[in-house]
């Protein structure tokens, strides 16, 4: 080996120093981005809360008018005021979705687990969505599950997951369609419960299976899209399922319908 092939220690040292400086710089950028992200989350949380209060006042005022407490309204006036109440309520629901997302994204989320019957929660969520589904002539059925053991999970959060999946199915299933919930077990000792929420809706292209779970993402994001919302429902569902050490995914056929699945450990160690 000739002298010229041997690495020059001084050059190596210089190169090492440069790499170290670059690594430091990268770390600084990461820290900076993290703190900006935290600020943005805090902002989202504050603004959502502050939007809620005047909206609540608007809705209450409109309800007082609608109920005729300040004098009887004619039917056109009542319809118009009902529009204010309904629009306001829709806004509140969207704000709540953002708040739930912000809370589930934070580091301080904790699960309040108890043993409960998942079929009971499914039936509750079905009841809550019955009116909305009936408007579109949709049926929501639970196909099985009467013999399931209790699950050990956070009841409120699981209810939220089911609410988002069923709400989503209602939104994207055309009039007269079907929505169903069914359960199966998998794993060597059937230790995992698989919950399926299926529909006969428009379906999702394979390329979009991942996208639908991403926050703020909607498959059709154009301003003229026919379905509006925060685009957070499925991202929240994923966060809440993952908090329970479960997984969530979708299988679908365009024009035929979608099946959303999520898993829960059946008998996780109790805290």
């Amino acid at each position: 080996m000739s002298m010229s092939d041997r690495p020059d220690p001084a050059a190596l040292k210089k190169r090492l120093k440069a790499l170290e400086a670059q690594a430091k710089e990268a770390q600084r950028t990461i820290d900076e981005l993290k703190s900006r992200d935290a600020l943005k989350t805090q902002f989202l949380s504050n603004i959502s809360h502050d939007l809620r209060t005047p909206l609540a006042a608007i809705i209450t005022h409109a309800e007082i008018l609608r109920e005729g407490m300040l004098g009887q309204l004619n039917s056109k006036q009542r319809d118009s005021v009902s529009g204010i109440v309904n629009g306001g309520q829709q806004l509140i629901d969207m704000i709540d979705e953002i708040l739930t997302y912000v809370r589930s994204a934070g580091d301080q989320v904790s699960l309040a687990r108890t043993d409960f019957s998942i079929t009971e929660v499914v039936d509750q969520v079905r009841m809550l969505n019955q009116a909305l589904a009936a408007k579109k002539g949709l049926t929501i059925e639970r196909l099985n599950g009467d013999d399931l053991p209790p699950v050990y999970a956070d009841r409120d959060k699981l209810k939220h997951v089911l609410g988002n999946l069923i709400g989503n199915a209602i939104k994207f299933t055309p009039d007269g369609g079907r929505i169903w919930i069914s359960f199966s077990r998998r794993g060597r000792n059937s230790e995992e419960l698989v919950v399926e929420v299926g529909d006969t809706g428009r379906g999702i292209a394979r390329d979009h299976y991942e996208l639908v779970f991403r926050e703020f993402a909607q498959v059709d994001a154009s301003p003229s899209r026919s379905h509006h919302g925060t685009g957070l429902g499925l991202a929240i569902a994923r966060k809440l399922v993952e908090l329970h050490s479960g997984t969530i995914w979708v299988e679908s056929e365009l024009g035929k319908g979608s099946r959303f699945y999520f898993t829960l450990p059946i008998n996780p160690p109790h805290d």
Binding site: H49, R52, T53, P54, L55, A56, A57, I59, T60, H61, E63, I64, E67, M69, L70, G88, I92, L99, A112, R155, D156
Partner: protein, 120 residues
Amino acid sequence: MRARILIVEDSQLVAEAFSILFTEAGYEVDTAATVAEAIDRATSEAVDLMLLDISLPDGNGLEVLEALRARDSLPRVTLAMTGHNDSNSRLKCIEAGCAEVLLKPVPIGELLRHIERLLP
């Protein structure tokens, strides 16, 4: 005699809406915007029903109940209002002695039904 309702709510907009509602429904209405004000209003004149917002600028709404219990001037009935509906905060309100925990915005039909039931 008309029943007296104390609205404890820091948003003037929301308090005004409830004031109109309860006045029209035939109740006597008083308002407070902070923990300190609520304690003052509830001790100076007996309250039949307190509609209590849980997040107030100078503290947690449940502190009002604590202070009033210590002064032996609890309202006959307290309804708590909260912005988020998780079982943990619901439980805390019930343990503190609230008859119901309502999620804001409370539909007025539901609110008036609760009040009629609790203030016979």
